[in-house]
Amino acid sequence: MLQVSLYRYNPETDDAPFMQDFSVDTSGRDLMVLDVLELIKAEHDGSVTYRRSCREGVCGSDGLNMNGKNGLACITPLSDAVKGGKLVIRPLPGLPVIRDLVVDMSLFYAQYEKVQPYLQNPTPAPAIERLQSPEERAHLDGLYECILCACCSTSCPSFWWNPDRFVGPAGLLQAYRFLADSRDTATEERLAKLDDPFSVFRCHGIQNCVNVCPKGLNPTKAIGHIRTMLLNRAT
């Protein structure tokens, strides 16, 4: 039997959050953490609340804190997550909890929108695609794959302190995805919008984002590139 301790909070009935323990029969299988949540919801308590969709690590719905580390429940096997026979599951840290494991991601999405995450190029488009060499396209690898799960930004102390002013690793990764795109012409406008003490420079290179990214992306590196661009622009 697996011992699971779940963070519970229902705003209609609970004054404060609490941890609830469940003994889950996994029949010895190395399930994913999401499978365990599905078992609890189906067999123990139908009111347990969490988000999930693709169950294969590409939709970014089920970012959670499992035994102290952020990750996607659907691609985290018990063999990776469980310590000392116990699994503690909490919502992503630093964002308001709506209910149980569901957090309010408005601030996270607002930072994403702030970087204008869409291609900008006012020159008239050709009748076919805009050409881009494989080398130019390669600059987007490691950037475009972000799934907006928020594992990175909610593991970042700078984002915990300034979620309204520091864009955070996820937003900055996307800011750089467009700065790095040979088809985008808004480099100067993008940099001007980021050029303040908080948007980028609150990153202190702690690299929690890199440690938790379930897609193996490196926001710190992208932030480093933006810093360099901002510094070059200043001189």
Binding site: S47, G57, Y118, S133, Y144, D181
Partner: protein, 587 residues
């Protein structure tokens, strides 16, 4: 109940919904998207291999008519040729628009969009060998497409009702659709979202089966709402089983693996598709490959201790190709199959993947029904695009890479048509209080019910029935048994009880409503599958092994009232090319 009004409301935030929304938002009409998940969590995100379209990058001579030929043949001749013509000819423009929006396609040395070979593709109307026509962003094309569309909707300030769930259609006294009842999942508040045009882009329903590549959220919500509102469903017996779902987990492994040179092997290491499809081999139609795999397994040549799967061999392609062209597959295989495809083959099995059927529509996305004479009638106010629609470009079997093209082209077409209709003026009578209450009845009943069974075991029972009785191979007697089991299940599903009565983020309530949608979709599938006594495309009957063009070269239409099945003609009159006449289908 509070009313919120829009010119156009799109239900569903996947590729089709967001493409339609983008078109309408750009036109300046007041547009809203209702999505039960944040839009980038929609199932389009899981599409891997690409989007098929004759953009003439890999082959400068490529021609959309060749793509049309392949699609008609792939459909086993019940795809509508006017719709296929529209999709294949308009496709390039729709793809270039996506690229201009920023979609990060992989590239050729010439700087053009990279295209890979996919199943069922040919040059020169089947005479010129294998084509490479599927435009790709590595093996994450759906993710790249969905994020690009969301980003451009942000740019155009589309209104999103994220994590809102549409419950049922509101119809006025003239039978026109005038919006939906929707729940805000976060607060539990119910509102009437009033609209002059209601677009269903609710996606598929693969969760009617126990084993599926589909996300948890693919519960046929549009089908459920449509069938309850008396809208017919077309070709619901046609379900695609994707040849390569990861054994045990069900997660998808793209056909692009075989396009890049991978192939299937049985327990003897034999490349068995050479026997079943001597020309196209592993790139035959998906229905053909899936059946061949099941036959290998049934004849004792399956892999593993139970001999219940086959393997997909990729290691001969080399680490460099795999990591650059198929990085997502390497990741999925390591996570879910515990196999590194660079070193050993991936265990795979045919897995429910795609609903070819759906709400019948014309090329403008307008939902159709038929009158007493069997003539098409437009349902005022209702539109559908993407997987929930049956326009029908896929007929009895969809070609790989055609689903993304379908959702982009017809999402766009729906938006364009609605924009024009709004400009010309849409006058629909307001819904009365009684009309709104009728649409809210299902939710009210669920909220008030005190006794009943729980959602999870009922859902598991439904999925088992569909898996066992309506799989890759089907027989009449066994399907009739399945239909009887479903009849017994219906009352219990209608009486499903809430495990949780809270207002805030009550996923138990949503799952109950989804279960009822799954059930409507499943029952339509079952009844029509039993009725079509022939084998065509994905519908393979062991008791009727041949295609029967005399009786069944037509769409099936399922009517929820009375659970009746009728037939509807297939379109054989494209505008600019000669009709592709039905012939024997071989690969």
């Amino acid at each position: 109940m509070k009313t919120i009004s829009f010119d156009g409301v799109i239900v569903g935030g996947g590729g089709a919904g967001m493409r339609a929304a983008l078109q309408l938002a750009q036109s300046g009409y007041k547009t809203a998207v209702i999505s039960k998940v944040f839009p980038t969590r929609s199932h389009t995100v899981s599409a891997q291999g690409g989007i098929t379209c004759a953009i003439a990058s890999a082959d400068p001579q490529d021609d959309w008519r060749w793509h049309m030929y392949d699609t008609v043949k792939g459909s086993d001749y019940i795809g509508d040729q006017d719709a296929i013509e529209y999709m294949c000819s308009v496709g390039p423009e729709a793809i270039f628009e996506l690229e201009h929006m920023g979609l990060p396609f992989s590239r050729t040395e010439e700087g053009r969009i990279y295209q890979r070979p996919f199943g069922g593709q040919s040059k020169n109307f089947g005479e010129g060998g294998q084509a490479a026509r599927t435009c790709a962003a590595a093996d994450r094309t759906g993710h790249a497409l969905l994020h690009t569309l969301y980003q451009n909707n942000i740019k155009n300030e589309t209104v999103f009702f994220n994590e809102w769930f549409a419950v049922d259609l509101v119809k006025n006294q003239d039978g026109a659709v005038v919006g939906v009842i929707a729940i805000c999942i976060e607060t539990g508040e119910t509102v009437y979202v009033k609209s002059k045009a209601t677009v269903f882009a609710t996606g598929g329903a693969g969760r009617i089966y126990a084993s599926t590549t589909n996300a948890h959220i693919n519960t046929g919500d549009g089908m459920g709402m449509a069938l309850r509102a008396g809208v017919p469903a077309q070709d619901m017996e046609m379900w695609q089983f994707h040849p390569t779902g990861i054994y045990g987990a069900g997660t998808l492994v793209t056909e692009g693996c075989r396009g890049e040179g991978g192939y299937l092997i049985n327990k003897d290491g034999e490349r068995f598709m050479e026997r079943y499809a001597p020309n196209a081999k592993d790139l035959a139609g998906r229905d053909v490959v899936a059946r061949s795999m099941v036959l290998e397994i049934l004849e004792g040549r399956g892999c593993g201790p139970n001999g219940d799967h086959v393997k997909l061999k990729l290691d001969h392609l080399g680490e460099e190709v795999l990591e650059s062209r198929l990085p997502g597959i390497c990741e999925l295989s390591r996570t879910f199959a515990h196999v590194d495809p660079v070193k050993e083959p991936i265990p795979v099995v045919p897995t429910c993947h795609y609903m070819m059927g759906g709400i019948p529509t014309n090329v403008h996305g307008q939902a159709l029904t038929v009158d007493a004479n069997g003539d098409d009638q437009i349902i005022p106010g209702l539109y559908a695009c993407g997987e929930v629609a049956c326009v029908s470009v896929h007929g009895a079997n969809r070609l790989g890479g055609n689903s993304l093209l379908d959702l982009v082209v017809f999402g766009r077409a729906s938006g364009l048509f609605i924009e024009k209709a709004l400009r010309e003026g849409i006058e629909l009578r307001d819904a009365s209080q009684t009309d709104i209450e009728a649409a809210d009845a299902r939710l009210t009943a669920l909220n008030e019910r005190q006794n009943g069974e729980q959602v999870a075991p009922l859902r598991a029972e439904l999925q088992e029935i569909m898996q066992n009785h309506f799989g890759v191979f089907r027989t009449g007697e066994f399907m009739r048994e399945g239909i009887a089991k479903l009849a017994d299940l219906r009352g219990r599903v209608e009486n499903v009880a809430l495990a949780d009565r809270s207002s805030a983020f009550n996923t138990s309530r949503i799952e109950c409503l989804e279960l009822q949608n799954l059930f409507e979709t499943a029952e339509a599938t079952a009844i029509v599958a039993e009725a079509r006594d022939e084998s065509r495309g994905a519908h393979a009957r062991e008791d009727f092994t041949e295609r029967d063009d005399e009786n069944w070269l037509c769409h099936s239409l399922y009517h929820s009232q009375g659970k009746k099945v009728s037939k509807r003609g297939v379109n054989f009159t494209p505008q600019t090319v000669e009709t592709f006449q039905p012939k024997a289908r071989s690969y």
